[in-house]
Amino acid sequence: MTFSASVIGASGFTGGELLRLLDGHPQFEITQATSRKYSGRSVGYTHPNLRDLKLKYSSPEKLEPVDVLFVATPHGVSMSKIDAFSEASNVVVDLSADFRLKDPLKYDEYYDGHSCPELLEKAVYGLPEIHRDDLKSAKLIACGGCNSTVTILGLYPLFKSGLLTLEDIIVADIKVGSSEGGASRSTSSHHAIRSGIVRPYAPISHRHEAEIEQELGAKVAFTVHAVDMIRGAAATCHIFPTKQDLSKSLLWKAYLDSYGEEPFVRLLSGTGGNYRYPEPKVVAGTNNVEIAFEIDERNNRIVVFSAIDNMMKGSAGQAIHAANIAFGIDETIGLSHRSLHPTGAP
């Protein structure tokens, strides 16, 4: 059985990634790829890896009815167009932040308010590792942000197992690639300016902090650096637990209990070969997340490392994974390819 799918905002980076994944997916068939700017042009014009698709951008004003609509537009668009999107499809998978938060007040605090707060409770946060059961009947799916995803997945088992408490101090330090900023240019993304940087672009109060705290139920001090790679998000989380006697075996039990059966989670022991700890380069192009952890007894610290491809597990891959679950098909279909090795910077 195949399902029809359209991508709104398909000319952006995540839109292109959605098209790449949908094209290789045996149970989704692309109906429309919309772009206001490139309407009438071939998708290969913006996504050269898709030149052979024989698909042209169409106007977002003329949506055909489909089984699932993937929305990869900038924040604010989905909430303003949700009626039209819901009319075109029973299932809307939104990759923006518009429906991620449950508390409308958080949109006032972190964004520019919300125009349809009554829908927030109906939306399901798109991480299958946490919301798989809810995704099975979801009609509005809000995919998590890339920085949030890499942080939440790294820390989630520690909260689920009760090893951490609300009093514990957690500092999350994130490094992300340039594709996270989307396809639009700015002076800060100019090659001469961005090349070689390790730029703390959000030292405090990053917008993703709100969804991390929502999903984990705890405060996380969160700082994000832009680094010189294109794809990838890596989180290093420093935790200073109030509980004593936390051992490596307790941590392993917590992570295996949460992720032992998860198809896209790779737990690393921190030993063996050249890539001992999570690396964005190793997961680039895949829907995998790599996670590892160590206990620093001298400083009473747990350090957790996690890495994803922000375009995959952090957006388009997460969206396809969630849609697979919503349509009751094998959740790994279309997402089981491996990364390249060796390769250059992702």
């Binding site: 490596k248 075996s249 392993w252 039990k253 295996l256 032992g260 737990l267 690393l268 022991s269 030993t271 063996g272 001992r276």
Partner: protein, 56 residues
């Protein structure tokens, strides 16, 4: 076949009876390399890893 547990993650590992001392085994769950340091009874320890000296 003999069952034992991984020294890193505690997962169960099944080992062939003809395993030899010094052999390196991988844990399927956490990926750690384990060295067979005894065969009667079977005893495993984390395999030694080359240390990085960057920054020294």
């Amino acid at each position: 076949m003999t069952n034992t547990t991984c020294a890193e993650c505690g997962s169960e590992i099944t080992i062939s009876n003809d395993v030899e001392s010094g052999e390196i085994l991988d844990c399927d769950i956490c990926g750690i390399e384990l060295e067979v340091i005894g065969v009667d009874p079977i005893e495993l320890s984390k395999a030694p890893e080359l240390e990085e000296d960057w920054g020294e």
